[in-house]
Symmetry: D2
Subunit: 250 residues, 4 copies
């Protein structure tokens, strides 16, 4: 495969508006995610943020993207519907999409999955332990049978998503909940990955196993084809059909 072309999209508001978050991610969450991808992959990584024109996601950018990462939280409603539509069309045509943490209720994720993305949550600086269900899956290459994040926001079931095509990790939380934390779905010709951890107030994206999963997910979800699925295809019969070719009366 040639070099993977990745775009990391970040809302980029917490880091500007809140000094505690800025202390954790001084260059923004997108910069930290990008550095994880560059650490592990031969990739061409660019970033895009909400306040840029068209949120940085012009048709040209998406045409040049094999996999798009998505981190958003407090401004989901500000993402323009036509950009959401464009991202959705790109996924159906083959672009990969990796949705992170609070992107679970982003417009993009909800449009792609067809569900609400809702869940239980709590912010309590609590421990999360992630369990590896499929060590042979490419997204979990190099990841141990479990690992811990000392401080994370809690997301608990029921997570309102379609049954995942692949369920790869489950989380245990100190406060008593569980969660399907690493899941994949196919939509059109594109692969969609959801990965739970990544609250803005904790240095989760500097954790080595988290970084490895981000990179593995990018490689796994990267575009393999580029097909416009939205065109109707009227076709002639391949075998003899007595009435083929007659007018449509409907």
């Amino acid at each position: 495969m040639s070099r993977v072309r990745i775009t990391v999209w970040n809302e980029y508001l917490h880091e500007i508006e809140n000094e505690l978050v800025r202390a954790v991610y001084p260059d923004g969450i997108h910069a930290e995610v990008a550095s994880a991808l560059e650490e592990h992959l031969d990739a061409e990584v660019r970033t895009a943020t909400l306040r840029q024109p068209q949120h940085g996601l012009t048709p040209e950018v998406l045409d040049d993207t094999d996999v798009l990462f998505w981190w958003g939280h407090k401004a989901h409603a500000e993402v323009a519907d036509d950009v959401v539509e464009r991202v959705h069309a790109a996924v159906l045509s083959g672009m990969g999409l990796v949705v992170l943490h609070s992107g679970h209720v982003s417009k993009v994720f909800k449009r792609v999955l067809g569900t609400s993305g809702w869940l239980r949550w709590r912010e309590a600086d609590e421990k999360e332990r992630l369990w590896n269900l499929q060590p042979s899956h490419p997204i979990l290459e190099g990841v141990p049978d479990h690992f811990e994040l000392e401080q994370e926001e809690m997301y608990g079931e029921r997570f309102d998503v379609p049954e995942p095509d692949e369920l790869l990790m489950l989380s245990w939380f100190q406060g008593g909940e569980v969660f399907r934390s690493l899941c994949t779905w196919r939509r059109g010709h594109g692969r969609v990955v959801y990965f739970r951890p990544g609250h803005e107030a904790y240095p989760t994206y500097r954790h080595p196993h988290v970084r490895r999963i981000l990179a593995n997910a990018a490689a796994y979800a990267a575009r393999r084809v580029s097909v416009d699925v939205r065109k109707p295809i009227q076709v002639a019969a391949l075998e003899p059909v007595p009435n083929a070719g007659k007018e449509h009366i409907g």
Copy 2:
């Protein structure tokens, strides 16, 4: 289970505008589908059509519906977005949805599945043979291992849908194509069924096996719960968490 409350929605344009279609379904496709449901089920069946105010799908109607049937073809674009949104929310809360034939590119089906619904097609009065993959599934109760429709429109793969939760029938077409003709997916608390046959120009909905499948699908998809999935749920910890209750810094 108490009486199933069913609403059969039909675009109801072909039957009015085209006398050949009207000859097949003089009271509309919705009336024929409703009669199949009443033949097999203890159900309360109402109908709704595009030209009614709010397309006949007011909040009151949906609140009173356990399963909604959907037949549309030439006027998908005329279905109002707020009605689509309302139907989608009803499905997530537990209402069943049975999408028929050319509903494969309806706004409702695309919103619920997250894909384009596209496929190959041809109108050629050709033979379709449907093969039963799961005779033990409740939707196929009373349906033989295969049956034929002498005249149907052809729909061929690749059908752009997410991997079905259950794949129940496959179609063989005289002209050389195949199709996943009876599929189910869960979205939120609702069950979604797609059933392929039903071109407006043929008497497909009078075929006994087709009628049985319509009724079985209604019983299978009927609402079992009624839960608004779109409310965030912030929760206290169930187990001791030292920092639980502290302020959110994000």
Copy 3:
């Protein structure tokens, strides 16, 4: 549906050999499970145990069984291979199978699933909390969004099973693990359910939510058809094939 015919199979050794277990289940685990089924269902429940001739699972018993429950632990190796084969054939033909707790490494479960059934485990009288992923599923009718068992044996991931057709509950354990605790798979014409709780030393099968799940699982998995899948079916062509009927040269 007519009355469900259920056979509850139990190894029935712990209760005889160990007085602590006997104090919990004086009439055997099978009697307690049977009472839960009779409490909730219009069912004809019989029991069978390891030490009976053919383990109580003669061809006549299986022919007369719509769903078989299976509890075994320390004597999996003593179950005769021909009985395993007979149970497997019955499942493929349409009989339901509900495997409980330590049945995860029974010969029957491994034969039906094709995997080892292995997992992590610990006996520590620890708390288990079960989370409900699909409140609209018939097996979870009447079951709240979560419930707790104060004392249980721990089973933790990775559970070596095929991807479930339906994943219905996840467990959280006090000691830090998680588990896929309620799963279904289809094999042939039969439905298979695995439900995790039920260590012999705790009164788990007297818990009201556990009892409800046992009964719901029986109703869900009960036989709907009776088809011998193991017969090859050589068929004539349904459409013209120029060479059909010629001799097989292979």
Copy 4:
């Protein structure tokens, strides 16, 4: 990934006993399959056949195999049970398995899937057309949206297998049947692929698209980990559990 180590197993009886088959595959089906793999992959390919000691599948051979191909037809019963057991264990530990054509009722395939593998069939030199459902899947890289085999044996639904994890191709047959012709399942840490075409009397394995699929399947299913799943894992608690460590009373 380093060089893929492949073993192609063939019953190798038809080619010896029947001159018409020998005319098609003078060096055996295994040699033709091996040549397809070598044409497309950087692989180390060996072959093994029924009449060799241990059918050529010693523990050493399996330990040195990343993916095993399986072609068998008339002598399934002659495959020794301990070899079947060994192959099964190898799959669970991470070895890939690609089952071809009449291997659908081989002991190995039935053991791995847990179903009978039965189907309808007919030998009539008829046309098969394979439809590509997932052009973005690695097994279908380079394969067009459909292709034809002018002469093949017919296999028709219902195919008695568990719901595939991935359904990749469907076949249309001239005589009126359909079939799920390219499927994948995961078992333990191994990936299993079934690919339908390949009757011994036709030159199917010389068809360029078939050869490409064989090679893609080998790359996809190749071992990624090597883990013995059959060992119980008793573990200490990761979090405080008051009673952890006490004796097991069961």
